[in-house]
C-alpha cells in the first residue's frame, strides 16, 4: 500500500473538481489552485523519495493485481517527471494569480489547468497502455479548452490545427493499442513486454512499434509531425503557453522513452536508428524554423521542437550515458522553457506586445528582469555553467562515444543556432532602444503586488536553473538512476508482475 504513487493524480483531480464546484468565486478558486498545486508538489516529492528508496513504487488500482487491473507504476523517470510537473504547477498557479484574466477564471481556467496537470501526471504514472491513452485524452481535452480561452481569431486558427492533428494522433494511438491487444491480449505494459519478448518474429512487433512511434511522435512534436505546435502554442493565454511548452510535448517524449525502453527494445537497429534520424531532423528543422521568426513566443515555440530533438537523440543512441543525457535534458528543458514563456508574459505585461520589432529598452529600465531572462535563455542555448550546458554536454558526449558523428555535429550546430535566436531576442527586446511607436509607460511601473506574483515564479525557476548548473551532481545521480532502470526493464517488470521475467 503506497498511496504516494496515486496521489499526484488524485490531488490535481480533486483540486480540479473542487475548483469546478467553486466556479462562482474567483477568489476561492485561486486559493484552491495554489493550495492544490502545493499539495501536488508535496505528494510528488514524497513519491520521489520513496522511489529513491524502493526503486519502483507500484499500486494495483482497485486491488486487481497486474496484469488484470490498472497498475500505477513509478520508476525514477516517472517520479522526476511528476516532480517537475508539480513544480511547474506551483509556478503557474502563482503566475496565474496575476496573469489570468478574471473572465478566464469564470470560464473554468483553474479546473482546466489542474485537470491538465492530472492528465500529465496520470500519463507519467500509469503502467497500462490504454490507461495512458485515457490520460492523454484528459490532458488533450483540457489543453484544447485552455487554448481557446479568450476566443480570439488566432486562437481559433491555432486550435483548429492543434485539435485536428492531436485527434489524429489519438486515433493512431488507439488503433495501435487495438492491434497490440489483438496480438498479445493484454494491456499492462510490463506484461506486454514479457509477452513480446517471447515473440520470435520481431518484424510484426516493429510494425506496431512504428505506429506507436508516429502516435507519440505527433504528441512530442518530432519531425515531420510537429506542425501543430508552432501553429498554436503562441496563441493561448501566456500562462497556458508556458505550461504547454513545459509539459505537453514532454509527455510524448516520456511515452517514447517508456515504450522504446520497456516494450519495443527487440530491434533497436531498426527502431532506434529511425529515431536517430528523426532526432537529427527534429533538431535542425526546429531551430531553423525559429531563425525566421520575429515574435517572442513563436521563436520559443520553434525551439521546443528543436530541443525535443535532443531528448530523442538521447533515446535513439540507446546507451546508458545517452539515456542519462536525455533524462537530464528533459528535466532542464521543462524548467527553462516554462520560465522563458513566463518571462515573455512579463514583457507583454510591460510593453503590451510579443513582437520583437516593437519591444525594446528592457535592459535599460528593467535590469533585474534582463538577468532573469539571460539565465534561462543562455541555459537553453547550452551555455555553461547553466543547466542546459550539462544536459547538452552529456548528450553530445554520448554521441561522440557512440561515434554518431553526423547527429553529434547537428546537435552542436543547433546549439549555436539556438544561441543565435536567444541573442536575437536579447538584442531586440532588451538591448535595443524602445521604439518610438511602442507605449512604454508601463515600463516604469513600480513593483506592485500583481507584478511580484509574476516575478516570483520566474525567480524560482531561474534559481532552479542556476542550482542545476552549479550543483549538478544530485540531478545527475537521479538521471543516472533512472537511466539504469530504463536500460534494465527487468526490474520494472518484476516490480509490476511480481515475477522475474
Amino acid at each position: 500500500m503506497s498511496p504516494e504513487v496515486a496521489l499526484p493524480i488524485i490531488v490535481p483531480l480533486m483540486t480540479g473538481t473542487l475548483t469546478l464546484l467553486a466556479w462562482r468565486s474567483n477568489i476561492l478558486q485561486k486559493i484552491l489552485s495554489v493550495l492544490g498545486s502545493i499539495a501536488l508538489l508535496i505528494s510528488s516529492i514524497w513519491l520521489l523519495v520513496s522511489v529513491r528508496e524502493q526503486g519502483h513504487v507500484v499500486m494495483y488500482m482497485g486491488g486487481w493485481v497486474a496484469p488484470y487491473g490498472i497498475t500505477l507504476v513509478a520508476d525514477m523517470l516517472s517520479a522526476i517527471m511528476v516532480v517537475l510537473t508539480a513544480m511547474m504547477a506551483v509556478a503557474i498557479a502563482i503566475f496565474s494569480l496575476s496573469s489570468a484574466a478574471s473572465s478566464h477564471e469564470r470560464f473554468g481556467y483553474y479546473p482546466l489547468m489542474h485537470l491538465l496537470l492530472a492528465g500529465v501526471a496520470g500519463s507519467f504514472l500509469t503502467g497500462d497502455l490504454f490507461n495512458l491513452f485515457v490520460w492523454f485524452e484528459v490532458m488533450l481535452v483540457a489543453s484544447f479548452a485552455l487554448l481557446i480561452l479568450g476566443g480570439e481569431r488566432a486562437q481559433m486558427e491555432g486550435a483548429v490545427k492543434y485539435v485536428t492533428l492531436n485527434m489524429l494522433s489519438s486515433a493512431i494511438f488507439l488503433s495501435a493499442i487495438g492491434l497490440l491487444y489483438g496480438l498479445v491480449g493484454t494491456l499492462n505494459m510490463a506484461d506486454i513486454a514479457v509477452k513480446l519478448s517471447q515473440v520470435e518474429n520481431t518484424g510484426l512487433v516493429d510494425v506496431i512499434a512504428v505506429m506507436f512511434m508516429v502516435a507519440f511522435g505527433i504528441k512530442a512534436a518530432a519531425f515531420p509531425l510537429f506542425f501543430w505546435l508552432p501553429a498554436s502554442y503562441h496563441t493561448g493565454p501566456v500562462a497556458v503557453s508556458a505550461i504547454f511548452a513545459g509539459l505537453l510535448t514532454k509527455v510524448g517524449v516520456y511515452a517514447l522513452y517508456r515504450v522504446f525502453t520497456l516494450i519495443f527494445n527487440q530491434s533497436p537497429e531498426f527502431t532506434h536508428e529511425l529515431l536517430l534520424w528523426v532526432a537529427a531532423f527534429t533538431m535542425i528543422t526546429g531551430v531553423l524554423g525559429a531563425a525566421a521568426q520575429f515574435e517572442f513566443r513563436r521563436i520559443l515555440s520553434f525551439h521546443i521542437v528543436s530541443q525535443i530533438g535532443y531528448m530523442l537523440l538521447g533515446l535513439a543512441l540507446f546507451t546508458p550515458l545517452a539515456i542519462i543525457g536525455g533524462v537530464f535534458y528533459i528535466m532542464h528543458h521543462i524548467i527553462v522553457k516554462t520560465n522563458l514563456f513566463l518571462i515573455s508574459g512579463i514583457t507583454h505585461r510591460l510593453l503590451g506586445t510579443y513582437d520583437l520589432k516593437k519591444l525594446g529598452g528592457l535592459y535599460k529600465s528593467r535590469p533585474f528582469l534582463s538577468v532573469l531572462f539571460l539565465v534561462p535563455a543562455l541555459s537553453l542555448a547550452g551555455l555553461p555553467p547553466l543547466s542546459g550546458f550539462f544536459a547538452k554536454f552529456i548528450v553530445i558526449r554520448a554521441g561522440v562515444e557512440a561515434e554518431a558523428w553526423v547527429v553529434t555535429g547537428v546537435a552542436l550546430l543547433v546549439g549555436l543556432l539556438t544561441l543565435y535566436s536567444m541573442i536575437k531576442i536579447w538584442a531586440e527586446a532588451f538591448w535595443k532602444k524602445l521604439p518610438d511607436e511602442t507605449d512604454g509607460s508601463a515600463l516604469a511601473q513600480p513593483m506592485t503586488l500583481s507584478l511580484t506574483a509574476l516575478y516570483l515564479p520566474v525567480i524560482l525557476l531561474a534559481a532552479c536553473t542556476l542550482f542545476i548548473g552549479l550543483n549538478g551532481q544530485p540531478i545527475y545521480l537521479m538521471a543516472e538512476f533512472s537511466a539504469q532502470q530504463l536500460m534494465n526493464p527487468a526490474g520494472y517488470i518484476e516490480a509490476v508482475l511480481g515475477v522475474k521475467p
Partner: protein
C-alpha cells in the same frame, strides 16, 4: 585558488550595492581585490620557479568526471599574474574613463565576472571546467562589446564576436570530449601523466581539428580574425583588457596547454605554423591599411596572436622560450598602448591618426609612455619586446619551416614597425592638428596603468635574466612539458636574427615615411578584402535566415491539409515499410458470414462512401448517421449490447449537435480540382489498405490468450456483477472510467467557454490572453496590386461588411433599447450598452468579430 575565482564573482555580485554607497570611487575599491590576488599569485613565484606546482582539488560533478580542481604551474601563473595585474589597472582606468556613466556599475559587474572567468580558465585542470570558463569569457565579452547597447553597430559587433567564438567553442567541446575519450580522463594532469600516445590515436586528426577550431576562433586566427577588430566597439578598457591582453590569448593558452599531449606531430607543426604565419601577415597588412588608432592596435594584436601560434607550431625548446617571452611582452605593451589610445580618444574626441598630430607638448606623459610601448612593439632594444623578437627570429630560423613562412614573418615584422611608428609618432609629433576641444593631460588614475605597464616592459627588457628565470622560463617549461635549459638575455651577439631585425626596422621606418601613399595604393586590394572571411560570415548568417524562411514556406506553411497529408504519409510510409520489408505477410481467409451481415456491411461501406461524395450538409449528416447506426448494429450482432446502446445514444446526440451547429455554417463549396481529389483519394486508399493489412495480420496471429479470462471468472464471485463489461468499467478498470468522465466534463467546459466567452464582457479583461495576429479581414497594405478576382472579392467583402454594419447598428440600437428596459430588472443577463461604448473608447486594438462591436466601429 577556487576561492580566488569565487571571490571575484562574489565581488561582482556586490558591485551594484557598493556603487550605491561609494559612487565614483567604486572602481578603485574593486581594484584592491585583483591587486591583492596579484600579490598572492606572486608569492608562489619561488615555488613555481623551482619546478613545483600547486594543486587544489575540489569535486563538482563526479558522475561526469567534472571537477573544480585547479592547478598552478608556470603557464597558469604567468597568465594569472597578467590577468590580475593588468586587471587592477584596467579597473582603475575604467572607473575614470567611464566616470559618471549611468551604466558604470553594470560595466564593472561584467568586467569582474570576466576577470574571474579568465582566471578560472587558466587555472582549471578539468577539461570541462576549462570549457565552462571558456564560454563564460565569451558571454561576458559579448556583454562588454555590446556595452553601448543602443547602437545597432555595437550589437552587431557583439553578436559577431559571440557567434564566432561560441561556434568555435562548440567544436572545442567536441574536441575536448574526444580528447578525454582518447586520453582516458578529463583531468589535464592525468592525461599528461598517462602513457597513452595520443598522436597515434585514430581520432587524432579529428580531435585536433575540433580543438584548433575552438582555439583559432577565440584567438582570432585567420580566417576568423575579423571579429576582433569589430569588437573594438567596446569601451577602450575592454579592448585593452579582453581583446589584447587576456581573452584572445585563451586560444593560445589552450594550444600551449595541450602541446605536451598533442603537439610536435607533423600535423601540428604544419597547421600551426602556416595558420600562424598567415594570421601574422593578415594582421600586419590590415593594420597598415587602418587609420583608426584602435583598429591599428587590434590588427597588430591579430598579428601578435599569429606569431604566438606560429611559435607554438615550431615545437622546439627555443620556440617555447620565445613563446613565453613574446606573450609577456605583448601583454605588457599592448595593454599599455590601448589605454594610451583610449586617453588620446578621451581627450581629443578622435581616434583617427590622420586627424591627430603634435600632441606631445600637451600630453607629455602620454607621449613618452606611447613611445616606450611602441618601441617594445617594434622590437627595439632595450625593451622586452626586443628580447622576445630576437628569440622569435632565432627559433624561426632554426625551426622546421620553409622559406615562405620565414618571408611572411619578415614582411610582417616590417609592417609592424610601420604600425609602431604610426602609433607613436603620428599623434604626438609633427604639426599640431587643432581639435574641437581643449586638450590637456589625462587624469592620474587613467595614466597609472600605462605608466606602470610601460615601466614593467622596460624593466623586463633591462633585466631579461630575472624575468626569464621567474616568469617566462617556468611558463615555457610548462608548455614544453619538460625542463628547458636556457636563459633570456638582451644581447645575443651579432647574428642573423639581429641583422634581420635591423633590416626590418630600417625598411619599416622607410615605409612609414611613405605611409600615406602606401595606404592609397593598397586601396586597389579592397575588392579582394571585401570578399574575405568577414563576407563569408555575413553570407552564412544571411544563409541561415534564407534557409529558414524557405523551410518555413515548405513545411510550416499554414496549410492544415499539407500537415495532415505529411503526417499520414509518414505513418503509411514507415509502417508500410516495416510491414512489407520486415515482415512476411500472410493471412487466412477463413470467412463464415450470414446474408444479413453482408447487407449491413454493404450499407456501412456505401454510407461511408456517400459521406465522401455528397455535396449537401443534410446528406452528410444523414449518411454519417447511417454509418453510426450500422456500427451500432454490428456491435449488437456481435455480442456487445452495451456498446450498441451507447453507440446509438451517442450517435443521436452527435446528430443533434451537428444539426445545432452545422446548419449555421455555409454549404460545402467544392473547390478542389479533380487532380487534388485524386491525390487525396490516393492517400486515403493507401491508409485504408495499410489498416486492412494490419488487421488481417493481427487476426491471423493471435499469439497469446487475452487476460480477460480472469475478469470473466471473477466478475460475479469477486465483483458481484453479472454484466462483465460494466464490472470492468466501474471496478477492474475504474481508473479509465474516472479519466473518461473527466474528459467528458472537460469537453463540456470547453464547449461552454467557447460558446459563452465574450472578451467584450469585460473591457481589457482579455488583455493578456494573446496577441492578435491580424485584425479580422484587414487587407494588408502590401497588396496594392490586386488581381481582378481579388478586387472583385474585395468589393463583395466591402458590400458584405457594409450590410453587416447596418444590421449591427440596428441590432445595437435594439439592444440598447432592450438594455435600458432590462437595466431596471436585472443586470446579469443582458449585455449592457455601456460595455459597447467603453469598447469604442478602447479603440481598434481589441479586435473582435462580435457584431455589436462592429456596429461601434
Amino acid at each position: 585558488m577556487q576561492l580566488s575565482v569565487l571571490v571575484i564573482y562574489l565581488l561582482a555580485a556586490l558591485t551594484p550595492w557598493l556603487y550605491s554607497k561609494h559612487q565614483a570611487r567604486t572602481a578603485n575599491i574593486l581594484a584592491l581585490l585583483p591587486a591583492g590576488l596579484t600579490l598572492w599569485f606572486a608569492s608562489h613565484i619561488p615555488l613555481i620557479a623551482s619546478g613545483g606546482i600547486l594543486v587544489h582539488e575540489y569535486a563538482w560533478i563526479p558522475g561526469l568526471d567534472i571537477s573544480l580542481t585547479m592547478v598552478l604551474d608556470g603557464l597558469s601563473l604567468m597568465f594569472a599574474l597578467l590577468i590580475c595585474g593588468i586587471g587592477t589597472f584596467i579597473l582603475i582606468y575604467a572607473g575614470s574613463y567611464l566616470q559618471g556613466h549611468k551604466d558604470l556599475p553594470r560595466f564593472l559587474v561584467v568586467l569582474l565576472s570576466f576577470m574571474a572567468s579568465m582566471l578560472g580558465l587558466v587555472l582549471a585542470d578539468n577539461l570541462i571546467t576549462l570549457f565552462v570558463f571558456w564560454e563564460l569569457t565569451s558571454i561576458t565579452s559579448y556583454m562588454l562589446i555590446g556595452f553601448k547597447h543602443e547602437s545597432a553597430e555595437a550589437r552587431k559587433a557583439a553578436l559577431q564576436g559571440l557567434i564566432v567564438t561560441v561556434g568555435g567553442g562548440l567544436a572545442l567541446l567536441a574536441g575536448l570530449i574526444m580528447l578525454a575519450g582518447a586520453g582516458g580522463s578529463y583531468s589535464l594532469q592525468e592525461i599528461f601523466n598517462s602513457s597513452e600516445v595520443l598522436s597515434e590515436h585514430p581520432l587524432y586528426v579529428g580531435m585536433m581539428i575540433c580543438l584548433l577550431l575552438g582555439a583559432f576562433t577565440k584567438s582570432a586566427q585567420f580566417p576568423f580574425h575579423f571579429w576582433l577588430p569589430n569588437a573594438m566597439a567596446a569601451p577602450t578598457p575592454v579592448s585593452a583588457y579582453l581583446h589584447s591582453a587576456t581573452m584572445v590569448k585563451a586560444g593560445i593558452y589552450l594550444m600551449a596547454r595541450l602541446y605536451p599531449e598533442l603537439g610536435g606531430t607533423d600535423f601540428w607543426i604544419n597547421t600551426l605554423t602556416s595558420f600562424g604565419a598567415l594570421t601574422m601577415l593578415t594582421g600586419a597588412f590590415m593594420a597598415i591599411r587602418s587609420t583608426d588608432l584602435k583598429k591599428l592596435l587590434a590588427y597588430s594584436t591579430v598579428m601578435a596572436l599569429g606569431t604566438l601560434t606560429l611559435l607554438l607550431g615550431l615545437s622546439t625548446e627555443l620556440a617555447m622560450m620565445a613563446f613565453a617571452a613574446y606573450l609577456l611582452a605583448h601583454s605588457l605593451y599592448k595593454g599599455a598602448l590601448f589605454m594610451l589610445a583610449g586617453i588620446v580618444d578621451h581627450e581629443t574626441g578622435t581616434r583617427d591618426v590622420t586627424q591627430l598630430g603634435g600632441l606631445r607638448k600637451l600630453m607629455p606623459v602620454t607621449a613618452i609612455c606611447t613611445l616606450i610601448a611602441a618601441f617594445s612593439l617594434a622590437g627595439l632594444p632595450p625593451m622586452f619586446g626586443f628580447v622576445a623578437k630576437e628569440l622569435l627570429l632565432e627559433s624561426l630560423l632554426a625551426g622546421p619551416v620553409g622559406l615562405l613562412i620565414i618571408l611572411m614573418v619578415i614582411t610582417s615584422a616590417i609592417f609592424v614597425v610601420i604600425v609602431a611608428a604610426v602609433i607613436a609618432l603620428r599623434p604626438f609629433f609633427g604639426r599640431f592638428v587643432p581639435q574641437a576641444r581643449t586638450i590637456h593631460e589625462a587624469p592620474k588614475l587613467m595614466l597609472a596603468g600605462p605608466v606602470v605597464l610601460t615601466a614593467l616592459s622596460l624593466f623586463a627588457g633591462l633585466l631579461p635574466g630575472l624575468t626569464g628565470q621567474f616568469i617566462t622560463l617556468p611558463a615555457s617549461m610548462a608548455v614544453a612539458g619538460q625542463p628547458i635549459d636556457g636563459y633570456l638575455s638582451l644581447w645575443h651577439g651579432i647574428n642573423l636574427p639581429l641583422l634581420l631585425s635591423i633590416v626590418s626596422l630600417a625598411a619599416g621606418y622607410a615605409l612609414f615615411r611613405k605611409w600615406d601613399t602606401l595606404r592609397d595604393s593598397l586601396r586597389i586590394l579592397n575588392p579582394i578584402i571585401e570578399r574575405g572571411p568577414e563576407a563569408g560570415y555575413f553570407r552564412f548568417m544571411q544563409g541561415i535566415v534564407l534557409v529558414s524562411e524557405w523551410q518555413t514556406r515548405l513545411l510550416q506553411n499554414g496549410s492544415m491539409r499539407n500537415y495532415l497529408r505529411t503526417i499520414i504519409l509518414t505513418l503509411v510510409g514507415v509502417t508500410g515499410y516495416a510491414l512489407l520489408w520486415r515482415y512476411q505477410v500472410h493471412w487466412n481467409w477463413d470467412v463464415s458470414v450470414y446474408l444479413h451481415e453482408i447487407v449491413l456491411v454493404l450499407i456501412l461501406v456505401s454510407a461511408a462512401a456517400a459521406v465522401c461524395i455528397t455535396g449537401s450538409r443534410l446528406g452528410a449528416v444523414a449518411t454519417m448517421g447511417a454509418v453510426g447506426f450500422s456500427v451500432a448494429l454490428i456491435f449488437i450482432l456481435f455480442s456487445a449490447p452495451d456498446l450498441g446502446i451507447t453507440q446509438i445514444l451517442v450517435e443521436t446526440l452527435t446528430v443533434i449537435l451537428l444539426v445545432l451547429v452545422l446548419f449555421r455554417l455555409p454549404g460545402f463549396s467544392s473547390t478542389s480540382t479533380p487532380a487534388e481529389r485524386g491525390r487525396d483519394a490516393f492517400v486515403a486508399i493507401l491508409t485504408g489498405t495499410l489498416m486492412t493489412l494490419l488487421i488481417m495480420i493481427t487476426i491471423d496471429v493471435q499469439i497469446f490468450p487475452s487476460i480477460s479470462d480472469y475478469m470473466i471468472e471473477n466478475s460475479q464471485p469477486l465483483a458481484y456483477g453479472r454484466n462483465i463489461v460494466n464490472v470492468i468499467l466501474v471496478d477492474y478498470r475504474a481508473l479509465d472510467t474516472l479519466g473518461e468522465i473527466f474528459v467528458l466534463a472537460l469537453a463540456a467546459l470547453g464547449v461552454y467557454a467557447m460558446i459563452k466567452f465574450r472578451p467584450e464582457t469585460e473591457p481589457g479583461g482579455n488583455h493578456y490572453a494573446g496577441t492578435l495576429i491580424l485584425p479580422p479581414k484587414q487587407v494588408p497594405e502590401k497588396h496594392i496590386v490586386l488581381s481582378l478576382d481579388e478586387r472583385k472579392q474585395l468589393r463583395e467583402e466591402k458590400k458584405k461588411a457594409d450590410r453587416l454594419k447596418a444590421e449591427a447598428k440596428a441590432a445595437a440600437e435594439k439592444a440598447e433599447a432592450e438594455a435600458n428596459e432590462l437595466r431596471v430588472q436585472t443586470s446579469e443577463e443582458a449585455p449592457p450598452a455601456s460595455t459597447d461604448e467603453s469598447n469604442l473608447d478602447k479603440g481598434t486594438d481589441s479586435a473582435s468579430d462580435d457584431q455589436a462591436n462592429k456596429g461601434g466601429q
